[in-house]
Symmetry: C2
Subunit: 228 residues, 2 copies
DNA sequence: AAGACAGTTCGGTGCACACCGAAGAGTGCC
DNA sequence: GGCACTCTTCGGTGTGCACCGAACTGTCTT
């Protein structure tokens, strides 16, 4: 256990892993940039992480694209982040990140929690610490958005999993259905990735769509959450 | 994130934390013993872990009893262990640990998985990566064992949660109901804690009871699991 | 074939920190 | 009060390892 934790325990490697929780595959040079170390040092770090089964890569020409090796790794990192965040003063280095961000492959932050809330309020979703489920009305509702719930359900991975949000300290939707919702939001250009970050930008079309679909009024305008 | 992971990343501290995943509260001296370092060194480690919100302690006379600070910490450690175990060759340092052990406050290892399997097979329990639930017939069944399912359900903590077993690579029951089952097994003297370890010993009464109740024939006799 | 660029390997430097011995503070028992 | 015991604080030592510069391999471009 200590070997794995020690790998995550290095500042530079932790920065690289945080960047990869976005689910994207990044090249060694990009990772060097986010970790603020030279390519030589990055290379050492990456080979250790691959050796330990935390990352995998595939080579395309002279580029090497690194990504998290498994969902177990992603879950481990979320676990560490949750403990780390629980200690921190409620000041976020990046308020954009608290507003809307990507968490491996699904939406998180105020936006992720707001979507989950809206679905729950309207009887489309059940979500608790033990797990989650989409109701029949939810299946119909999401179909109108262009999401194939039955298809998601058939996939091997967890279908609907609660994910504890480290900034909001509440649950948002993960699993196949969480990924499907996020994918549709990208496709419809409701949200854009902000370069070099897990943060997301909500487009004007997104503001409209989110209000019309989920009744979400500008997450940006919401006060910093009021719990604890 | 890196600070928290770095704390777990030290060999001695990781040994202490592993010992505490058993859910028991241990004194500084006991932790010094499991970590194989002097009391002075242990004291430093413990104060760092408390400072970081990973451990808490309560003082009783001249003793200080340390325990994990929260369920989030426990979940983080399980996550790290899962990733660490996924890499290891399928040789366990301690086969007793693979057979039956305590995982925070519930049963794990071959025994934990076998109990979950039996309950599922008989329609008493639903358990998947997304969560779990006890059925009506399960409620009746567990009541006969002396477990108050409704009472467990009312508790604030997660009621029935899947926990990925690092030795079996399959799910066993965690959450309030998992803790309740474990507690009853202790009360009925089906299993005993083995000193200084998370491992459990199955008593002769336990062998009988487990066979009669769950149809489990000696987990000790089972072959080392056949996956991967 | 030459140059540009991505990534790796090697060798050396410097710092952070785990560790222990010695000494001190607080508690319990007789 | 005196002694035993648990735990902590302080100071000094040793080492593991992150880091970089320099040099090398491999791929793409022109």
């Amino acid at each position: 256990m200590s070997e794995v934790a020690a790998l995550v325990g290095d500042r530079a490697r932790a920065e690289m892993l945080s960047a990869l929780v976005s689910g994207r595959a990044l090249t060694a040079k990009e990772l060097a940039y986010v970790a603020k170390v030279t390519p030589q040092t990055t290379s050492e770090h990456l080979s250790k992480l691959v050796e330990a089964g935390i990352l995998t890569f595939n080579t395309q020409g002279r580029f090497r694209y690194f990504r998290l090796a498994s969902a177990a790794v992603s879950q481990m990192l979320e676990g560490i982040m949750t403990v780390a965040a629980s200690r921190r003063v409620p000041t976020f280095r990046d308020p954009t990140l608290a507003r809307a961000r990507i968490c491996y492959d699904h939406l998180a932050g105020q936006l992720g929690v707001a979507i989950a809330d809206s679905l729950i309020r309207n009887g489309h979703l059940l979500l608790g610490p033990d797990g989650g489920e989409v109701t029949e009305s939810g299946e119909t509702f999401l179909a109108k958005l262009g999401i194939d719930v039955k298809g998601s359900r058939r996939r091997r991975r967890a279908f609907c999993r609660p994910c504890l949000d480290w900034s909001e300290r509440r649950y948002h939707i993960a699993g196949a259905i969480g990924a499907a919702v996020a994918e549709r939001c990208f496709e419809m250009k409701w949200v854009n990735r902000i370069e070099e970050s897990r943060a997301l930008h909500i487009t004007p079309a997104g503001e409209k769509g989110l209000l019309a679909t989920f009744g979400i009024k500008r997450v940006a305008a919401e006060k910093v959450s009021s719990h604890q």
